[in-house]
């Protein structure tokens, strides 16, 4: 029972309190790049959830089973990048073979995710920063992905409405998106310090 509560608090913490985009400021390029349309944002978010979960498990395994026994923990970043990049490649090939529709929907986003620093960030948090167990690392991966999806959907909703607004010329487009992202991040600061 105690363990379940622990997992729940990790999940809520990763989704709201330590939201990867709005509190930790990781993965900002897709946050601004893909948040212009709600549909694209949702697709990207789900792709990130999937890759984040899988890469959390894989990087945890490789960290615990290879890097720690060999005492070369400091090589973690290189190894993780190698692992994540080849894993995403593999997934892309698999999807292309099994489901062309899914490939068309996810096609451009999967390679983009490889270079998403949020994925590497989660892998590092799981292993060195927090030192989670495997179930905790998995939950953290899923929850961080959900947090990313939440941030992306919130931002896409705001930006779709902003498109109809009539701001001064210097503000229209990306500058306004930056301002609203900052306000959104401020709002998420309200979650900080919450004890679960």
């Amino acid at each position: 029972m105690h363990k379940m509560e622990n997992l729940l608090s990790i999940a809520i913490g990763a989704i709201l309190i330590n939201n990867i985009v709005l509190t930790k400021f990781l993965g900002l390029c897709p946050f601004f790049g893909v948040s212009t349309r709600m549909r694209n944002a949702a697709t990207m978010g789900f792709a990130v959830i999937f890759v984040m979960t899988a890469s959390s498990i894989l990087t945890w395994l490789i960290y615990e089973c290879l890097l720690i026994p060999l005492h070369i923990e400091y090589m973690r970043i290189v190894t993780f990048i190698l692992l994540i990049a080849s894993f995403v490649q593999l997934v892309e090939m698999f999807i292309r073979k099994t489901s062309p529709e899914l490939h068309r929907a996810f096609g451009i986003y999967l390679p983009l995710i490889t270079t998403n620093c949020a994925i590497l960030g989660v892998a590092l948090i799981n292993t060195t920063v927090e030192g989670y167990s495997l179930p905790a690392a998995t939950v953290n991966g899923v929850a961080t992905g959900i947090g990313f999806l939440l941030a992306l959907i919130l931002m896409a909703g705001i930006r779709e409405r902003l498109e109809l607004a009539d701001p001064p010329r210097t503000f229209s487009g990306l500058p306004l998106a930056f301002v609203s992202a900052a306000l959104l991040a401020l709002a998420f600061q309200g979650f900080s310090g919450m004890a679960i």
């Binding site: 190894t79 190698l82 593999l90």
Partner: protein, 282 residues
């Protein structure tokens, strides 16, 4: 030190060979013509053909070669190349250019403060202009244009002929139906789309066509006919002498500016038009 190097090499080797195996196992057989055709398509992904992009269009072409004319942007050489791959004869298409048929001089009927989009403005009491056929100038067309050829200046959309590829997306976007495609070798264009009677047009717009018929009378080769209170120019007949442009009292007719077309030699009929023609100085 050695451990790290060996480990990384082994990992790289393992992942690399794993991917290689996977790429063989999951290889998707693709019709090689699709890739060849894709290489010959313009790659603008404008979607004017009705498909999601050039990739989809290339795949569709292999399925049904009659679709080739759906893409207006393929250069003639590439078009022939695609025809060769598909084993069909390709007809030569005349390149086209989009033109916004409005001078943008209509009086304003009321102040509009709604959503800054033509579609929204056109739906509110028929638009905020006195002329119900005039350009609203919020640039729906400019946003839709995949090649950035349309700009809104002084509340009126204008097409940069040099950038326009003639894809025709803007034609369907304009709620007023003002944009039309003309062959690039068209000589005289009409810049008004109002079929109202002359008196009504004269009361709402400084530069609208009042259907006086002077252009029809001035044309020595009878290439202009008045239909629905507007001059219709037969581009096949027209030799570009420019008499109608000079005759028009409202400046509605315009010569397609020379940079729109291939360089024009001395023998071209266009050469006869005096350089100081006010309508040419747009």
């Amino acid at each position: 030190m050695i451990e790290e190097i060996v480990l990384l090499c082994l990992l790289g080797l393992a992942f690399g060979s794993g991917l290689e195996l996977a790429s063989r196992k999951f290889a998707v057989r693709v019709d090689e013509r699709i890739e060849k055709i894709r290489g010959l398509l313009p790659g603008l992904n404008c979607g004017a053909c009705g498909f999601g992009g050039c990739d989809d269009f290339a795949a569709a072409l292999v399925g049904g070669s009659s679709l080739i004319n759906a893409c207006k942007q393929i250069a003639p050489a590439e078009r022939r190349g695609i025809g060769g791959i598909l084993g069909i004869e390709v007809k030569e298409e005349k390149p086209e250019v989009a033109v916004v048929a409005c001078t943008g001089e209509s009086k304003v009927a009321f102040e509009y403060r709604g959503v800054k989009e033509c579609t929204a403005a056109a739906n509110l009491m028929g638009g905020f202009l006195e002329c119900k056929y005039g350009c609203l100038g919020f640039g729906d067309c400019a946003r839709a244009c995949p090649s950035g050829a349309i700009k809104v200046e002084n509340r009126r959309a204008a097409v940069d002929d040099g950038r326009c590829t003639g894809c025709g997306i803007c034609v369907n976007v304009c709620p007023r139906g003002l944009i039309k495609l003309f062959p690039r070798d068209a000589k005289v264009l009409r810049m008004c789309n109002s079929p109202e009677r002359g008196k009504i047009v004269a009361s709402v717009c400084e530069k609208g066509c009042i259907a006086c018929g002077l252009c029809e009378r001035e044309c020595s080769i009878k290439a202009i006919k008045m239909e629905n209170n507007l001059p219709v120019i037969d581009q096949e007949l027209c030799n570009g002498c420019g008499d109608c442009v000079k005759a028009c009292p409202r400046g509605v007719l315009r010569l397609l500016s020379p940079r729109d077309q291939e360089p024009i030699g001395e023998s071209s009929p266009r050469g006869r038009i005096p350089a100081g023609n006010p309508i040419n100085q747009t």
